[in-house]
Amino acid sequence: SGGSEKEINAGVFKVGLLSPGPVNGQGWTQIAYEALLKIEKELGAQISYVEVEQSPALFERAFRDYASQGYQMVLGHGFEFQDAALTVAKDFPNTYFFISSSKIREGNVIGVDSDSSEAFYLMGVVAALMGKAAGLVGGVEIPPITNAFIGFTNGVRSIDPDFPISTTYLGSWTDAAAAKEAAFSMIAEGADFIIPDADAAGSGVYQALNETGPGYWSFGIYNDYTSQAPNNMIGNYFNDYGQGLVNLARMVKDGNFDIQTNVEFGLKDEDVIWVKFVEGRVPVDVQESVETARQGIIDSKINTLSPIR
């Protein structure tokens, strides 16, 4: 199929996506998909995506198919795509292979990471200042999640070294029911700040808080989830990864991509990552400490990923 299409679409800017799961699943996978749509809209690119089942065996093939069809930019949305990209990249020097949540940089394989640990650090600060105990509900134990939780913990510790934090992993990205029960368990254990990072399953946490009623707090992750627990949402952590990718894609398209290292979005990229509080939920003094922390992070005075003892 590759051959024929090459002629037809010669000169068109083509961007492909390898999604680790359903593109319309909320959270992580959705981000990449929306990024793709954004690229299509803003740069008039021809886009395409494929949901490779969670089987690394299939990644290489997908990369190869895209590259051989003359795609200039292919995004593997997850560290697990790294190996495959490296293998394929050699044969296709003029395609850019971007790998989400990876720190690699080898020739045309470029790790792109939006570091959630920074935003979670801020949430940690809020929790430690306003709450009694915190609970973190993770989908599966993988670096993006663990890093975010490390960031959160560091944030908490920066305020109160022995503020209790408990962590639960569901072993699933879709089992919202389990997430909900996990949240209930944490509430029963005395937690009043419960934050999910579990993709589609995460909203089970919001439902649990919503049912438990006011006095229990959470943050929307990657998007505005206020509607799901209007009385419990203290703020939302926005991660417009899409915007970040658009910025990269624009460089690729205009042929002036000159970054020599891997890409890492953080609070410094204000149009990509930011945290917004819900009106009147956070006292001024807390907001101030958050702001100081944010500055500290941007000026890299604070290392949100510093190991925890």
């Binding site: 105990a133 408990s166 639960t168 879709t174 909900k180 029960e181 996990a182 368990s185 589609a200 909203s203």
Partner: protein
């Protein structure tokens, strides 16, 4: 922990147990009927998914979880009709058709979810579901009241449905014919009953209840649909039937047992400061259930004609 803490700990875990067990209770109860009639349906996972999606979609568009549930049941009956037609009327291999249902269930629901809801993920999660309702007085009992009597309708329904199921199975003429059909269909035939009719009925009950079990996930326990949200519950239900010795109350008990192990592992993970890898907790429910099953003193023999098509 001092006694008080232990009590509240238990109460919380038990409440979660009941909620987590509910989908297994509905689904396995149904499967008890169809297996007692001699029809083995390994397609429960698929049927649950279809029920879950239908309930979700209808509730989303009508705003009424009741309608959603009704629609789910209908979809389950449709699956049952297909299953029965193939396995009973055409005496096709039951395992084959079951495996097929699993494939279709996953594919179809995902496909429809994409086609209908793509782009609407946000709104898709905003609708009312069966919310917990408090039972006056009882709910004000310390610890347990607060938790055991603040469940949603479908959770409360479980013991009643099981009671009904066991009454039908053991106290009605229909139940008698069901139990006979699974053991010795020729006898049923020569008694002038229609083996096929009885099996149709039982399969319909089975799939209908499986759909309810699925619907519970999307309109009661949570209010959202995710692809593959059942995450293997259909298979667990299958095991529950065997461990529960093909009896409604047995299935009820085993469902609660599994639910308890699951609730316990979530709770233990939530206890801050525990450093055991979380996978140990995750494996716990399956491991313990397996151990219980293997260690079980009296294990019942399956219905004599289970899985065997009947040709007069």
């Amino acid at each position: 922990m001092e006694p008080l803490a232990i009590v509240s700990f238990l109460a919380a875990v038990l409440a979660a147990t009941w909620r987590l067990a509910t989908p297994f209770i509905f689904t396995s109860l149904g499967e008890v009927f169809s297996e007692r009639a001699g029809v083995l349906n390994i397609g429960l996972e698929g049927v649950m998914l279809i029920g879950a999606f239908t309930a979700f979609a209808i509730t989303f568009f009508t705003g009424s979880p009741v309608l959603g549930l009704a629609a789910a049941i209908t979809s389950g009956l449709a699956c049952g009709l297909l299953f029965a037609f193939l396995t009973v009327s055409l005496s096709a291999n039951q395992i084959v058709v079951g495996a097929a249902l699993n494939l279709v269930g996953l594919g179809l629901t995902s496909f429809l979810y994409r086609s209908i809801f793509s782009g609407r993920m946000e709104t898709a999660r905003e609708y009312v579901s069966f919310s917990p309702l408090e039972i006056p007085f009882l709910s004000s009992i310390r610890f347990f009241g607060d938790i055991l009597f603040k469940q949603n309708l479908m959770v409360y329904a479980t013991p009643i449905v099981v009671l009904l199921g066991s009454f039908i199975l053991y106290r009605t003429a229909f139940g008698l014919s069901v139990r006979s059909t699974g053991e010795h269909p020729r006898t049923v035939d020569s008694a002038g009953l229609r083996v096929s009719m009885i099996r149709y009925a039982s399969v319909l009950i089975g799939c209908g209840l499986a759909a309810v079990g699925g619907a519970y996930l999307t309109v009661a326990h949570t209010n959202q649909f995710n692809e593959g949200i059942t995450s293997g519950r259909g298979f667990i239900a299958l095991a529950v039937v065997v461990i529960g010795r093909w009896s409604p109350w047995g299935a009820f008990a085993v469902s609660l047992l599994f639910g308890f192990f699951y609730a316990l592992q979530l709770r233990l993970q939530a206890v801050s400061g525990i450093t055991i890898p979380y996978q140990f907790f995750q494996a716990m429910p399956y491991l313990l259930t397996l151990v219980v099953f293997v260690a079980m003193r009296r294990r019942a023999a399956p219905p004599g004609a289970l899985g065997v098509p009947y040709k007069s």
